[in-house]
Amino acid sequence: MSHDIKTIEHDVIVIGAGGAGLRAAIECSAHGLDTAVVCKSLLGKAHTVMAEGGMAAALRNADNRDNWAVHFRDTMRGSKFLGVYRMAELHAKQAPERVKELEDWGAVFDRTKDGLINQRNFGGHRFPRLAHVGDRTGLELIRTLQDHGIHQGFEVYMECKAVKLIKDGDAVAGVLCLWKDSGRFMLLKAKAIILATGGAGKMWRVTSNSWEYTGDGAAMAYDAGAELMDIEFVQFHPTGMVWPPSVRGTLVTEGVRGEGGHLRNSEGKRFMFNYVPERFASETADTEEEAAKWLAGDKEARRPPELLTRDVVARAIYNEVKAGRGSPHGGAFLDIASNRPAEYIKKKLPSMYHQFKELAELDITTTPMEVGPTTHYFMGGIRVDPDSQQATTVKGLFACGECAAGLHGANRLGGNSLSDLIVFGKLAGDGAAAYAKGLGTAPSISDDQVTDAVRHVTAPLNRETGENPFQLHDELCEIMGEHVGIYRTEDGLGAGLEKLVGWREKIKNAKAHASSQYNAGWHEALDLESMAVVSQAVAMAAKERKESRGGHSRADHEVEDYDHWGNINIILKKGDDDEMVLSHYQREAPDPFLEKIAKATVEELDAMTASGEVEI
């Protein structure tokens, strides 16, 4: 291979070492394939580690009325019926076994009195469904997969950034990678590539996301000809910290509300009672008394409105603040101290206790927290086949976890992310293994593609002068915050798109000073290129969707339009002249049985289960 670039060949390359990537790699190894994982950080530090509340699976340990159909229905309703029915079905059916498998691999979940995996309540889930470990479930997941994974025989290339997918015709053939510590390149050849790179929340200043979340997978896939779907749906988590400024956006787990936390405005009112959407009204408590009964364990009582889906709660807090009823630092009060004893809070929410104590000098066992919306999650991403996770338009390319689209539609339920990782991580592993084994000859790589990519990637180091990459990142956050935030308008998005054109011109001139060794400025400059693709895609799709649904709220089109937009997914793909092309995908009619479950009332679904029409 070309020049002095080291080339290594594997059967499958997994890009990303969070829950999805590690689960996929474990599966590929189990299929007997020579597998390698490439990750931007050290092993065990991926974004999964920050997940707090739990992973949703209808294990039926905490409430035996739960089953896959109820979980499926909750997921589809949460997605505002824009999720892919088949993916929601696979997810609900397979999540319990995936969670139990983690226990076989050493995970230690909190227990019920009977010694089984305990489950907690969360927004949008009808029954307590989240397997959890206090409020550090993500750490438990990643450490379990890491400690199991290192004995499965796959290679891990840490602190190594994938920069470009290399193709042979219409199929992937490898990926060019950059070692952060030395600044050297490495070419990995493979029959199949699995992207598990997460989201792109770093395009906003107020975010719960780590530096890694720059949309690399979506951008690389787009560049290689894949379709991006539902990318306008960005989840603003209702409860991020709002004070002090340096931690604005840091996540406050939904588990606080799951464990009984109330939201109040500056007038002391539990304002969520005023924001219950019609479709959820029959399943939501309408008085504080009923909500209190539910918390005390009364199975007849309905759920408190604080546990509505995240899109609803985030908009409610935003509107309360806008109406002048916010907390001193522009949020809402989240109060667990009045509802649970201090020892209980410290046991079930230890990292929240620690986080507020250390970073905000506030004791959550005595004082309400101040919280407000923070950029959290990408529902959209790479469009994939629901069963194999193969990208729709690039052979041999697979995607799973947050970088893939489909399961969550317009809004994700809390807890469905971690279960997404393990369910679809495994399926992507199966899909990639089947593809790789069926491939006759390994694809080949032309020197030119690699040479061009290296020249492009090293350009920020080689130009004489140019723009400061960190300041360019700041400018992007400014544009996205102002124009592509929680509420969007036609004019605002139009102006944002204009500004993004100018910004993309500037990043062509990003300059990285000094040597290529562990150069933070250079890495930032490369991440900007990923964000350039994804920011444009989000803004274009958001401007196109003239309705409000889930994570996408249009101030100028406030209703959910089921007749038109409810049947359409927006797709973005690279055109022949490298321009971004937007198209509408007319959704096919769902499986009638699945649709019946998804749209049934609680009573109808219970009847379907009792009659055996739904098998559990």
Binding site: K45, L116, S210, P244, L359, N468, A514, Y518, N519
Partner: protein, 258 residues
């Protein structure tokens, strides 16, 4: 607040020096914020490892005014009101560049530990463990792998016995397996020999720096040392083994009430 002066170690494996920077400090900032501000303003190529900035990933370990800490959880208002703030990489690991160390030793040590191997699931497809029995290993499983405990362990830091002793992080990992109610592997001989549990002389420096407040020494290392002693140095047990054959490692199995 006003401008503060930082002395940050810059360099690589070949050598380096402290470089002085100034930056504005505003309310609520942590040391990592200040480093990021310096990186953005005047040192774009400054190497610093970080991820979550919320005390959950354990990436941003460094020595701040000589104390090993997570820089994302160290508030500027906890620093002395005046004077320079000195920032350097962890001393017990080789430097890669600036504040970034080569921590690959840890990944090698982890690989030496035989993985978790559970007894079979029960007839109904579940594993049963009571909360009281898992509380103690859940404490160990809070570990972020920030490696601050490894940085202060004087067996490593001062005596360079990395080969002989795996260090506190890996003692805790071993303890979490050894005390796991479902696990059936006997790692006691390994803990003694390959991981060198005898080298720890219980100064509790590791426990002091743990950002997760894991009681590393008292709850993890000392019980492991006791199990090693029971196995290898207890004369009565040795006699019993001679007479009755080798004893299976005792693992307490949970008692479940129907």
């Amino acid at each position: 607040m006003a401008k503060r002066t930082f002395k940050i170690w810059r360099g690589n494996a070949e050598g380096g020096e402290f470089v002085t920077y100034e930056t504005d400090i505003t309310e609520g900032m942590v040391v990592l914020d200040a480093i990021h501000q310096i990186q953005s303003e005047s040192a774009n190529d400054l190497a610093v490892r970080w991820n979550c900035k919320a005390g959950k990933c354990g990436s941003c370990s460094m020595e701040i005014n000589g104390k090993p800490k997570l820089s994302c959880m160290t508030r500027m208002n906890s620093m002395p009101a005046t004077g320079e703030i000195v920032i350097q990489p962890m001393k017990a690991f080789p430097v890669v560049k600036d504040l970034v160390c080569d921590v690959s030793y840890n990944y090698e040590r982890n690989k030496m530990i035989p993985p978790f191997s559970p007894r079979p699931r029960e007839a109904d497809g579940t594993h049963r463990m009571v909360q009281d029995d898992v509380d103690r290993i859940q404490e160990f499983r809070k570990c972020l792998e920030c490696f601050l405990c490894m940085d202060v362990c004087h067996v490593h830091r001062d005596h360079g016995k990395q080969k002989e002793f795996s260090g506190p992080r890996w003692m805790i990992r071993l303890a979490s397996l050894e005390m796991h109610p479902l696990d059936i592997v006997d790692r006691i001989p390994l803990i003694k020999k390959e991981h060198g549990s005898g080298y720890c002389n219980i100064t509790r420096c590791c426990t002091e720096v743990c950002p997760e407040h894991i009681n590393i020494t008292d709850n993890g290392i000392i019980p492991l040392k006791e199990r090693v002693v029971d196995r290898f140095y207890d004369p009565i047990a040795m006699l019993m083994r001679k007479v009755f054959g080798p004893r299976k490692p005792h693992k307490k199995l949970p008692v479940i009430n129907d």
